[in-house]
């Protein structure tokens, strides 16, 4: 699997439908959705609650499957992979940043960051080196031994970002990364994401409700009733 961008396009979504079934009722979350994201782009995905933002993010990240349509990341047809292939693909190419950080409370900051590296063939010393680097990037080298409960929200999100970037993934998928933070801390996290995008060329797709956050992105698209719009619909 190459995941090399084609004509600069890294994420190619075409004619994607996503339908959930609740009892006998079918809920159409995404309908005939098309989207392209270029390598190195910082895309903000906005829209009201229930518009399908997180569902779209899950489809791009291979956490869920489209009911119909094509989801391709680089040369990889994510929609055609088996569960096992998807797991391996995610480990290599995707870094997730969650709204509520989702750190394992029983592990220290460095052990949390090390988790994705356990799936690689790196030695313990190499893993330690990668963890140090990731924590340095997010500015948390002084809290390596701290447990999540002793960290502030901003610090926890930095650990979450370090965990997402430690394997040097192709894309960072961020689901409302500042949604649980105050404005000042949120700004710091957004600056960090912006730096990762500008200085390290990371492709970032960020779901957000916050117009202020979306201004940090290089492009914003709007999702409403399962459809994508280049500008916020009235």
């Amino acid at each position: 699997m190459s995941t090399a961008p084609r004509n600069g396009v890294l994420v190619h979504i075409e004619g994607v439908d996503k339908t959930f079934r609740r009892g006998s009722e079918e809920i159409h979350v995404l309908s005939g959705l098309n989207l392209e994201v270029k390598a190195g782009e910082f895309l903000a995905l906005m829209g009201p609650s229930g518009s399908g933002k997180s569902t779209l993010l899950n489809l791009i990240g291979g956490l869920d499957r489209a009911t119909r349509g094509t989801v391709a990341i680089g040369g990889d047809r994510v929609d055609q992979m088996s569960d096992r292939q998807l797991a391996g693909w995610r480990a290599r190419h995707i870094g997730f940043v969650f709204q509520f950080y989702n750190l394992l409370p029983v592990l220290t900051a460095e052990s949390n960051v090390e988790l994705p590296l356990l799936l690689t063939h790196l030695s313990k010393a190499e893993r330690r080196q990668h963890v140090e680097t990731a924590l340095r990037v997010v500015g948390l080298t002084h809290r390596t031994k701290a447990y999540p409960r002793t960290l502030s929200g901003g610090e926890q999100q930095r650990v979450g970002i370090a965990r997402a970037i430690v394997t040097d993934p192709t894309i960072l998928l961020c689901d409302e990364p500042t949604g649980d933070l105050d404005r000042k801390t949120g700004d710091e996290i957004l600056s960090l994401l912006q730096a990762l995008n500008r200085e390290q060329g990371k492709t970032i797709i960020m779901v957000t409700h916050d117009p202020h956050a979306s201004h940090r992105a290089s492009r914003t698209v709007y999702l409403n009733k399962g459809q994508l719009f280049a500008e916020a619909p009235e």
């Binding site: 569902t55 899950n58 990240g61 956490l63 869920d64 569960d83 096992r84 797991a87 391996g88 693909w89 995610r90 480990a91 290599r92 995707i94 997730f96 969650f98 709204q99 509520f100 989702n102 394992l104 409370p105 029983v106 592990l107 052990s111 988790l115 994705p116 356990l118 799936l119 313990k124 965990r163």
Partner: protein
Amino acid sequence: MKFLHLVWRNLTRKKLRTILTIGSIFVAFLLYGILGAVKLALVGGVEFADANRLVTRHRVSIIQPLPVSYQARIARIPGVNLVTHQSWFGGIYQDPKNFFPNMAVEPETFWEMNPEFTMPADQKEAWQRTRTGAIVGVTTANRFGWKIGDRIPLNAPIWPSKSGGAWEFDIVGIFEGTKKVADTSAMYFRFDAFDEGRVYGTGQTGWFQIRVDDPQRAAAIVAAIDEEFANSPAETKTEPEGAFMQGFASQVGDIGTIVTAILGAVFFTILLVAGNTMAQSVRERVEEIGVLKAMGFTNGLVLAVVLGESMLIACVGGAIGLGLALLATSGGSPVPAMFPVFYIPTPHAIVGVVLIVALGVIAGVLPAVQAMRLRVAEALRRGG
């Protein structure tokens, strides 16, 4: 191994719950080990009985004597290789609480008949030479601090001596077991001196030990012996040594069934306790499992991590319990009078290890499969 830290740390999530579960498993395996030793003490003789040995006793009861003259008649029966006899003495050393088995035997045939015992040659010779000589098993010698040369007085309520006082025996040898299961708590002394010194019962003995050439022919030989003495004043009942010992053990009940029933109940309860711990543990971290899968943990790896937790709980609790039971029984019997042979047999310990692994797998398998089947997106939604 690199996932061991994650497995271990997951168990520290609810320390008290983990400690209590490990504690329950520890108690179960401690009980398993100790009961194994108790079972061996009560019925071990049955399991380790010599297949070549038969025992002939009075048809009515073991306490009814048989004429010593039967020995020559039994020896003539085809297939019989060796015959010797023993008489229960019931001697008391100082206090009835100091119980240990003591029997009058024939020193000439004793060693050939009972190869599970051994003693230095010079002590065997001394026993042949000394009419008042007695040999004592190392367990009882250690228990009372007896050594060679000591003179031991025994009162025998069922066998008064012609002298009217206590019977006195000179310790001329201390025997040990050639097998771990050998009962070294008994004392043996010469039948000729006993027969001469007792007030009544001369020419009578308790039971015969018979060694046969071929254990496959034992049934025919048993029938031939009992046929030989049929319709006589002292009819006999002959049986393999194992059956004879089983008869003794059965006086306290079916030990094997009792022990199995107790352990079955204990393990069933422990299975529920450990299974509940694991199920709760998985329910509490659906979202975390979703995060692990989002990172790239495969379904198989998630299954292995949860099963690993279950295995670790079972192994820690089981190893400490079984280990402590082995340690507690390694020093021998705490009550040599009641349980002269007291240790955990190797097969019982091996079964214990298998049970530890089985407990870990069975308790963890359902929650592990549940965790494995979690859909990532759904797990993250449920958590959020």
